[in-house]
Amino acid sequence: MIEAVGLTKRYGAKTAVHNLSFQVRPGAVTGFLGPNGSGKSTTMRMMLGLDRPTSGHVTIGGHAFRSLPNAPRQVGALLDAKAVHGGRSARNHLLSLAQLAGIPAARVDEVLGVVGLQDVAKKRSKGFSLGMGQRLGIAAALLGDPQVLLFDEPVNGLDPEGILWVRNLMKRLASEGRTVFVSSHLMSEMALTADHLIVIGRGQLLSDMSVSDFISANSADFARVRVPADRPEYREKLTASLTEAGGRVMPETDGALRVTGLPLPRISDLAHGADVRLWELSPHQASLEEAYMRMTQGAVDYRSTADAKEGLQPPPPGYGHPGHGQQGYVPQPPPEVPQQGWYAPPPPGQNPYAAAPAPAPEPTAERTGRTTDEDPR
C-alpha cells in the first residue's frame, strides 16, 4: 500500500507536482498516467525518498521510504533503465545490489533467468540495447522479492514480445497480492495492463478510478447534432427539449451540440417534435486515448476529478489522426477556415450510421480536414 498525501514538489518557481493525494492498493496493477513532464517520475522519486517533497508526504506500508527497515526487501523499483555503470556486467550489477539487502547470490542468477538475461549475464551492460536495459532494471526491482513494486515506463524500448511479457509479469505480480505501480504515457498500454488508473497532468491529479470506470466514464458514445448556422435560436430550443427528455447536452465551440444519454432516433424525433431542422446528426465514440489526451491537455480544465466529462471540449486543431481507431471522430478545422456552413464528413467507410452527407462542399471539406490533420500545428 502506497499512500500520498498532499504531495507537492517545487523546483524554484516551477511546480512539478501539486497537492497530489492518492492510494495505491495491493493486489492490483495501478497505472500512473500522464503526458511527458507531468510529474510522474518526480512523484516516483519522492516515493523512493530520492527527492524530498516541498510539502506533503508519501508512505509505503505506513513508513516513509527512508525509515523503511531493509528497503530493498520491501520495495523494488525500476526508475531508469540506463542507470547502470556501463563497465560492470549485468550479474555484478545485480550482485552489488543484492549484497545491500543480504540477498544470496543465487537469487541474482534466478532473476537473470526470470528476465531472460542469463546468456549475457557476464557481459558489460554498456553494450545492452534499451530493451535489455529495461530487463536488467526489472531484474533489479524483482531482486528482493518485494511486496511493493514501482516501474517507471517499463515498456520503453521493448519489442512486442517484451511488452507482452512485461504486461503478464505485472499482472502476475499483482495477482500474488503485491502492490504494483506502473507509470506510462501510453493510455493504450495501461488499458490492457492496469486495473486501476491514476492520471495526472501538470503535476495535478486528474482522475483516480478503476480502468472499467474510466472506460465507462470516458469512452461513452455521443451524438453530434448541428442545427442550421443561420438559425441560432434552434440551438436553445433543441437543447431545452433534449435536456427535458433526459439527455445531456454540451455545446462545442463551433456551434455543434454534443448529446449523450439519448439514442439517435430519439434525438431525431425530439428535433422533429420541436420543429428544428438538423444539418447533422451523427454518432461518435470517444476512445480512451482521446479521453486521456483531452483530459491531459491544457490546464484550465484541470480542476475537476469527480466528473471526468466536465472538461469535455473539442480538441484543438491539429489534434486527432485519421485512422487512429476512432469511429467518426472529426477533426476540427483550424480557425482560419470559415466555420460558416462548414461540414465535416466522417472518414469514409467508418461510419455506417452517418446521415448522407449534405450537398455541402464535401470534397473541399474533406481536403481541408486532412490538411489540418497532417499539419503538426
Binding site: 525518498g49 530520492l50 527512508r66 542507470a83 547502470v84 563497465g87 560492470r88 552489488s96 545491500l100
Partner: protein, 259 residues
C-alpha cells in the same frame, strides 16, 4: 536498514567489478615508481651539477617520491571516478533507493575506496623508496635511518588522503567531468605554480598537496625548498583537515539535495 557490513560488501563488489579501478591504481603505482626511479638515477649521475644549497639539503627519501607529483593525479582520477560514475551513470538513484541512509552509503563507499587507495599508496611508497635507494647507490639512505620510515609510511597516507579528498570533492560537485576539470589543473598546475610565486607562496603552502607533501621530507626544507611554518605531521594534519572539510561538504550535499 541496510547494515553497514552489507553496504561495505556491496561497495567492494562495485569497486572490484569495474576496470577503471584497476587501471587508475596501476597507473598511480607505475607512474610514481617509474618517475621516482628515473629521477633518482638522474640525480645520482648529475649530483655534482646541483647547486650548493641543493647539495646541502639533498634528501634521498624525498627524491624517491618525486614521482608522486604525477602519480597523485592517477589517485585523483581513481577517487573522482569511484564517486562520479554513480552520478554520470545514474546509478546513484538505484543505490540510494536501496540504501536510503545516505550517510551509510557515502561513508561506506569512501571507506572501501579509501582503504584500497591507502593500501595501493603504501605499496607504491615502499616500492618506489627501495627502488630509488638502490638507484641512488651511495647517496641513498636506509629505511632504518631517522624519520625515513615516517616519510615512507607518510607517502602511502598522502596518496590515500589525496584519493579521499577527490571523493569528497566529487560528491560535492556530483560530476566526474567537473571534478576532474577542477582537481587536475589544481594539483598539476595551480598549486605548483602558486607555490613558486612569491607572495602567493604563503597561501599556497596551506593547500592540501603542498602541506601534505611535507611528510615526505626527511631533511627539513629538502632540496632547498621553501621553509614551512609547520612540521611534517602538522602538514599532514592540514591536509587531513582539507579532506575532512571535503567529506563534510560532500555529505551535506548528498543529504540535502535530491538525487
Amino acid at each position: 536498514m541496510a547494515s553497514v557490513p552489507a553496504v561495505l560488501n556491496s561497495e567492494w563488489t562495485k569497486i572490484r567489478t569495474v576496470s577503471s579501478t584497476t587501471w587508475t591504481l596501476i597507473c598511480a603505482f607505475l607512474v610514481t615508481v617509474a618517475m621516482g626511479a628515473a629521477l633518482s638515477a638522474l640525480l645520482n649521475s648529475q649530483f655534482d651539477d646541483l647547486s650548493a644549497a641543493e647539495q646541502a639539503t639533498f634528501d634521498p627519501t624525498f627524491v624517491s617520491f618525486s614521482g608522486m607529483v604525477l602519480g597523485q593525479l592517477a589517485m585523483v582520477v581513481f577517487g573522482v571516478l569511484v564517486v562520479g560514475t554513480e552520478y554520470s551513470s545514474g546509478m546513484i538513484r538505484t543505490s540510494l533507493a536501496a540504501v536510503p541512509q545516505r550517510g551509510s552509503f557515502l561513508f561506506s563507499k569512501i571507506a572501501v575506496a579509501g582503504v584500497l587507495a591507502l593500501v595501493v599508496g603504501l605499496a607504491t611508497s615502499f616500492v618506489t623508496f627501495f627502488l630509488s635507494q638502490a638507484l641512488l647507490g651511495d647517496r641513498g639512505t636506509d629505511i632504518g635511518a631517522e624519520n625515513v620510515l615516517r616519510a615512507v609510511v607518510g607517502g602511502g597516507l598522502y596518496m590515500g588522503l589525496i584519493a579521499v579528498f577527490s571523493m569528497g570533492v566529487a560528491t560535492m560537485l556530483r560530476s566526474s567531468m567537473l571534478s576532474l576539470g577542477i582537481l587536475m589543473p589544481f594539483f598539476f598546475l595551480v598549486s605548483q605554480i602558486l607555490s613558486a610565486v612569491p607572495g602567493a607562496k604563503s597561501v599556497a603552502r596551506y593547500f592540501p598537496d603542498q602541506a601534505g607533501s611535507k611528510i615526505l621530507q626527511v631533511v627539513p626544507d629538502a632540496m632547498n625548498s621553501d621553509p614551512a611554518p609547520y612540521g611534517p605531521w602538522a602538514g599532514l594534519g592540514i591536509m587531513a583537515l582539507w579532506v575532512v572539510a571535503a567529506l563534510i561538504g560532500g555529505y551535506l550535499v548528498l543529504k540535502k539535495r535530491d538525487a
